[in-house]
């Protein structure tokens, strides 16, 4: 996936100011930045939910799966009914087989008949991602997938997402947790006020933070990152 010079305006406010980046198969790209940086806007443009006011997006031959920040599924239906509905809407030849595959992938086979509203937030997020995977995407966009999950649920979620990337899927996820981005992202794209400040591996981001905010170099990475953003005028 490749994005070049993406611009998005909401009235007078410029939510994205010429953002560009690329992502390769099997790569996990973390889009990081404070609230209001433009992470959700960027992902929604990549997903085709919103149109950009400028720039272009190339997705290659494959499809793009999108997993919104808040679980987009029907809480009064069961796990299986949700998966079956979206498999049918995706016009799968054998929707039931796709459901079985997703139940295995999410590890929710035992809970297939449960109403989604009764599941934990982590399990709901797994179904949310599984629905995003039903389109068999070559690129999967995850908008803040770990929000509201406890540490155990987060660990299981990232294990699941990492396995997807291991199978060849390009995963682009947004987060405002710098440690999560550093731990799970092969590459990190830093956004602030609609600008792309950094695009590279997590180790290079640490180096850049140390170089540009030396006074915070001895502090924890999150504090140093905030100082780095401050130095860059954000």
């Amino acid at each position: 996936m490749q994005a070049r010079g993406l611009v998005k305006r909401f009235g007078d406010r410029e939510a994205l100011k010429g953002v560009g980046f690329s992502a390769e198969p099997r790569e996990l790209v973390a889009v990081i930045g404070p609230n209001g940086a433009g992470k959700t806007t960027l992902l929604s443009i990549l997903a085709g939910i919103q149109a950009a006011d400028g720039g272009e997006v190339e997705t290659g031959d494959g499809t793009v799966g999108w997993v919104p920040q808040q679980a987009a599924l029907y809480r009064r239906l069961t796990v299986e009914e949700n998966l079956l509905l979206f498999a049918r809407l995706e016009k799968h030849e054998d929707p039931s087989a796709s459901v079985e595959e997703m139940l295995d992938l999410t590890g929710l086979r035992e809970r297939r008949g449960e109403i989604v509203a009764r599941l934990s937030g982590g399990n709901q997020q797994r179904i949310n991602i599984a629905i995003g995977l039903l389109s068999r995407p070559s690129v999967l966009l995850l908008d803040e997938p770990s929000v509201g999950l406890d540490s155990r649920q987060r660990a299981r979620l990232w294990e699941f997402v990492s396995a997807l990337a291991g199978r060849g899927t390009t995963v682009i996820f947004s987060t405002h947790d710098i440690q999560e981005a550093e731990r799970y992202g092969n590459r990190v794209l830093v956004l602030a006020d609609g600008e792309a400040l950094f695009d590279g591996p997590a180790e290079e981001l640490r180096e850049a933070v140390r170089r540009e905010a030396p006074e915070a170099a001895d502090r924890d990475f999150e504090t140093a990152f905030v100082a780095y953003l401050h130095h860059r005028g954000h």
Binding site: G48, Q50, A71, A72, Y74, E81, L85, F86, R88, L89
Partner: protein, 450 residues
């Protein structure tokens, strides 16, 4: 679209309260309307103290008129609770056991009889009402006034009829019954004939002239009093009512009541279900995911309208079937019922979609749908002439902009022949359906914002 429809029906099934309300509501409406149209209004309970002696009769010039059966007439109109004293009547009214008490005093007939004497009295009846409830007081006032007006009319007719008999006796002659015997009255016409027969035998002179004048008077009096007879009869009821229907025919009350019940059911089911279901797509964050290539916004809108029409049709037909327990319906017109319910349901459902696209939460949308549907339904039932012309024109415009009134007209027309054509209301509904679909489609654009 069918998978989305199936999904919505599954969700509906998973919401027991919603499903129960959807079934229970029309059943309740059907039972209430059925009972209302198949049973007349309950007679109010009124305590009656009749102190008039059983043999008392209204008399005219010493002749007793036949009994007017006042007590029976009263008890036909109200449920009479016979009491034996004024105190008992007061106690029953105060306790709420009866709505009112009617006391016919002992001297009532004597007072009526005194009306034809030189010293007329004022006949009075006493009505005891518990004024603590203004609604009850109003009902009782209306009923008692109507009863007394009817009693006065009956009495006036009797008196006029008796008066007419005496007048006839004066004109044509006959026997007047007096004290068990009878007096023969010659009558003006016979008197004139006798005088006319005598007149030629008299010599010319002042006596013959005088006799001629008396004969002429007898003839003129007879002829003029003949005219007075009908006039005396008309005095009892000088004005009669002749009702002429102008400006179309109105459906029978039963049909109209059933049509109102069916339209209300259809409106609530279609509007609330579609508005809520569309808002649910947004509340569950599913809308952007669905319209990202899986279904178009137009198809989603169509699915919601179809949901409203299907569920509305089933529930309304069930309700009409329930009503047949109480009132016979013309099932031979089932095709027209279907047309009216489907087109009306589609129009109401698109209005629901437009409302559903206006808010993010299901609860807010449901409240909005309820707050719009109920007043519009109420306004649609306001008949012309009951409010000022200006206000009625405003009501007409408002009710024409929402599908309730045309749906009511279409269903009324479909239920029974002779209730006006169904084409006009169906065309009106189709236009509204297109307009609301366009509004809903525009409003759905807001859903895509993430």
């Amino acid at each position: 679209m069918r998978w989305l429809l199936l999904k919505d029906l599954q969700i509906l099934r998973r919401s027991p309260l919603q499903a129960v309300l959807l079934v229970a509501y029309p059943v309740l409406i059907a039972v209430l309307v059925g009972l209302a149209v198949s049973r007349g209004p309950e007679k109010p309970r009124v305590a009656l103290l009749n102190e008039v002696p059983a043999n008392a009769r209204v008399s005219l010039s010493g002749t007793k008129l036949p009994s007017a059966n006042v007590q029976r007439r009263i008890c036909d109109k109200v449920e009479c609770v016979h009491v034996h004293s004024r105190d008992e009547a007061v106690a029953k009214v105060e306790s709420g056991d009866v709505l009112a008490a009617l006391i016919l005093p002992e001297d009532l007939v004597n007072k009526i009889n005194s009306l034809s004497t030189l010293s007329p009295g004022t006949p009075k009846v006493e009505v005891l009402v518990n004024e603590s409830d203004p609604l009850k007081a109003g009902i009782v006032d209306d009923r008692i006034e109507a009863l007394l007006a009817q009693a006065n009319l009956t009495l006036a007719k009797r008196i006029a009829a008796e008066g007419g008999k005496y007048l006839n006796l004066v004109i044509r002659g006959g026997d007047l019954p007096v004290l068990g015997g009878g007096i023969h009255i010659l009558g003006l016409q016979a008197s004139a004939h006798i005088l006319e027969a005598i007149e030629p035998a008299l010599p010319n002179g002042p006596l013959k002239v005088a006799l001629s004048q008396v004969t002429e008077f007898a003839n003129q009096a007879g002829e003029n009093l003949d005219i007075a007879g009908p006039l005396i009869n008309r005095l009892a009821q000088p004005i009669t009512v002749e009702k002429v229907a102008v400006g179309g025919s109105s459906p029978p009350l039963e049909t109209f009541a059933i049509a109102v019940a069916a339209t209300l059911t259809l409106a609530f089911v279609a509007v609330l279900l579609v508005a809520g279901s569309l808002a649910l797509e947004r509340e569950e964050n599913a809308y952007p995911r669905l319209t990202r290539g899986l279904v178009s916004a137009r198809a989603l809108l169509g699915e919601k309208v179809l949901l409203g029409v299907v569920v509305g049709l089933v529930v309304t037909i069930l309700m009409l079937a329930g009503l047949t327990i109480f009132v016979p319906l013309e099932w031979s017109r089932f095709g027209l019922w279907l047309a009216a319910i489907v087109v009306g349901g589609a129009s109401l459902a698109t209005a629901g979609a437009a409302l559903g696209a206006a808010a993010r939460e299901v609860r807010a949308v449901s409240l909005l749908a309820f707050m719009v549907t109920l007043p519009v339904a109420f306004l649609s039932l306001v008949p012309s002439g009951t409010v000022g012309q200006g206000l009625y024109d405003v009501i007409k415009v408002i009710t024409a902009l929402f599908p309730f009134k045309p749906a009511l007209e279409a269903i009324t027309s479909a239920l029974e022949a002779g209730n006006g054509g169904i084409g006009g209301p169906l065309l009106h509904l189709a236009i509204l359906c297109i307009a609301y679909a366009a509004i809903a489609r525009l409003a759905l654009r807001r859903f895509t914002r993430v």
